[in-house]
Symmetry: D2
Subunit: 288 residues, 4 copies
């Protein structure tokens, strides 16, 4: 962790692997008097891809913030990079979508309040009004969009409009019980994080705890992943498990699972908010 | 754990749930001056079944060992019990089936040697001769039954003959790479334990580490289960997981998995050897 | 878990180990038409002590609730038992003591609200007023007793008075930063649960995360225990750990630790509330 | 992991933190056509120290292996680095010291045999002859140096002579029951790895499982660390824990602990053998 008060720049990038990338980037930073405080890289040998996260202090860095993209663009072009530049001073704007279950919602709100999740939770969307009092307690704008078969398209249109108007950087599905349309998902590619209450790819789809109970597993899991158009099949960011036994009823599984869902979801959200995740194909690199 | 030197009797039973079972059994033991040292029970509410494991010291017990089955049979009949009676003085006879991979084989042999797994490892069967030197080192009889499509039926016939002749109580498939026939499995119902190198039911079938690598999971698992005619679908006895990341190659997954397979398989075998497992439907009760 | 609607009786007992205890108790229950739904026992061989937790349905049980203690007392006397009788219909009255840190407080309140912790959280006591808004949000009575060297005796006197008046069954110290006096502790023997933010007995006393950071450990822990007059030395109910590395600053340790503290404390409280804990000497039996 | 067949160079270094280190090192490698395949760094803010591990392929690198130290020495001097250069083609020479317990010894030998631990296990030293047959089975030279109060100095002298003559790179104490003298430890500074059978700093010294049993902990641990002159107080490389309960006897703790000791020790040894550990003060950086 950098000292909390010092502003940093973070580059997240991927490109075809080749010699000289690290040298070029680190020399660029050094040349303008930047002090690198974190650097992590990964090479995927199958695809021949190179991934990097590099963070440096802006204090004393000789290129003004707004000019860094232009200056770095030259290097990026040379190596055919996909890249993002983030500043630690910019707090991401986060929207939570929830239904009736409130454990993940509370957990995100409390971790945000205590400073563990560095985001501005801008708004909460729900297809029900049950969790409105929670939004009120935390002073977060709350929007209800009831959804049924008929109005789904229209409801999503309004949600998208709202999310775009509010310049939302990350959408977290906190046990949100509606499947988002392909259009919705594509508009927020790699910007929607979901929690699935099983150890994916086991128990895909509905009622995974019921499935786990029926199968008689000795561990139950939770999986947090980016949402793609293929249900429960997006790039996995974090997973966790907890022991269960024959003594656990279905209700016990659900209860134990709640604790796990909170932990796994907030871990994934934290990784994303700290710009530590990169998606490649259907996998993630998590620079933790 | 009882004192190692005191001989005990262990009853494992299941029956329809009803009042008075515990009272009847514990009174039976007390009436003949037995000292109960462990008692564990479970009621499955879905099926209305009652399960019990009860262990008492034989020292001072007024019914001779060979007459206990007859005496207890009266109670068993009254409650329509399925039951097994074991004596701690009887060391189960265990056969290991292995192919070329030796990590689980070594692990079982070493844990047996050090007293952690209380069994007499009577023989090792393989479809190859690679692991014969290991059998020799530990002084265990070794049998090779090469298997191909043509001879499978005949080879299994000989294996079964051997296992029956040697009065084998438990067969452990220590990464044995052949699928046993339905006939084989039924002859040794709930007496064959396998280790599957994934977190079942994720990644059923062949090459689960390859599947896990392709899916980009953040945890890999291992599952030990009783073998039934449905491949990888038998009652689960034990499961474990270990963290992996984008840095882990397929080879790393395989290596990390080995450690896990050993741990999970030996845990399941230990539970069985200590008469702590009961199968019901496609699940297990593990009195650990 | 019993069906939620059926009322049960739970006996928690300990006595010198001897033959016939289980038979006597189970026959007592059966004789009056009780249906045992859980029974767990343990024998501590060192001390020759027997421990038991037995739970049966009251529906159809032929002794009225208020007469059970008298009826069972005869058996208890015969075996010199220490025993407690609980009814599942009686919701324990719980008091939380907190200071400024609110993560454990929130966690207990939310788990209580969602039904995971079955208690009536009667009141919250703090030596500060910071967490009062939380008490208000959850509608719990809140009492501030500021404490300094001079008034400690007097403040505790008032707290004790309040706790006794409110017939509190369990006091949970949710990161409460004051050391309770010997007198206080003895008045609520085995009825005060604390969370210590380290893997006891490592890092006893103040600032355990600082100690852990300085020592360079690779795991940090949390320990929930009954409070005794010896600081951080009471009977342990639950422990947990989480991985850390050289990358984790002291602040990261504190943050990771919070998650752990919540989990471990609520698990211990849950065990107690479900009458699953028994203290013997400086250890616990946890019938989980 | 690099492709197994490609030879790599690995630099491990530490120096006072300052701007330009990464740029200088990566440019040095790039300038001579090296392809960086791994790079990891850490800054300890307390001490203002910078740590790095960087690995590049030697194929095509324009400086001959034997001249790399001279060439890099210029950069190292400029930044006042402590540094080590390793080549993946050089297999470290490892000595194991053991007493009578053989579980960690077997584990290291088997993992070495299967390729999981890349080392040449050159010799085994013991103060007893019990484990000699194991050395024989694996074809490793075995030396017995019985140790008592009188001969300790002389025995250690011979051990040191042997270890130096055999150019041992790493000494692993696999539950070796003798305390090494200060002189011995200093001669092999940061080259001796021990496994302590507890979660340090809890239960320092003799009989930690007895201590853990008496304290009634719910988790037991194991700690692998570099040996320093302060017993059980050296820099920690890896730690692990496993759950225990009131049902576990002291003997059960010892047995469960064995599994843990093997896992934790081999993990630490693997980190060291892959040149992923750096010691600073009484802590380690583990680039895993």
């Amino acid at each position: 962790m950098p000292e909390k008060n010092k502003e940093t720049a973070i580059l997240l990038l991927s490109c075809p692997d080749q010699k000289g990338i690290v040298a070029e980037i680190s020399s660029f930073i050094y040349q303008y008097s930047g002090n690198i405080i974190h650097s992590d890289q990964h090479t995927d040998e199958e695809s021949g891809s190179f991934f990097m996260r590099i963070e440096w202090e802006l204090e004393g860095f000789e290129i003004p913030k707004q000019e860094i993209p232009g200056a770095f663009g030259v290097i990026a072009g040379k190596f055919s990079m996909d890249w993002e530049l983030h500043f630690s001073s910019v707090i991401p704007r986060l929207a939570i979508m929830a239904s009736k279950l409130d454990h993940c919602l509370y957990d995100l709100l409390l971790k945000n309040k205590s400073g563990e999740l560095r985001a501005e939770i801008t708004l909460i969307i729900s297809n029900h009004s049950d969790v409105k009092p929670i939004a009120d307690y935390f002073g977060i704008d709350f929007y209800t969009f009831p959804i049924d078969k008929e109005n789904k398209f229209e409801a999503e249109r309004k949600e998208i409009e709202l999310l775009q108007k509010e310049k939302i950087d990350l959408i977290v599905l906190a046990r949100y019980m509606q499947v988002l349309s392909e259009n919705f998902v594509e508009l927020f590619s790699n910007k929607i994080i979901n929690i699935h209450h099983s150890f994916l790819p086991a128990f895909v789809g509905a009622k995974p705890y019921h499935q786990a109970f029926t199968r008689g597993v000795k561990l139950i899991g939770a999986t947090s992943h980016y949402v793609t158009k293929d249900l429960d099949n997006g790039p996995i960011i974090a997973q966790g498990v907890i022991s269960v036994s024959h003594r656990d009823s279905l209700e016990d599984l659900i209860q134990k699972g709640k604790e796990l869902e909170k932990t796994v979801l907030s871990r994934a959200v934290k990784h994303h908010l700290e710009n530590k995740t990169l998606v490649f194909g259907n996998k993630t690199v998590v620079f933790d």
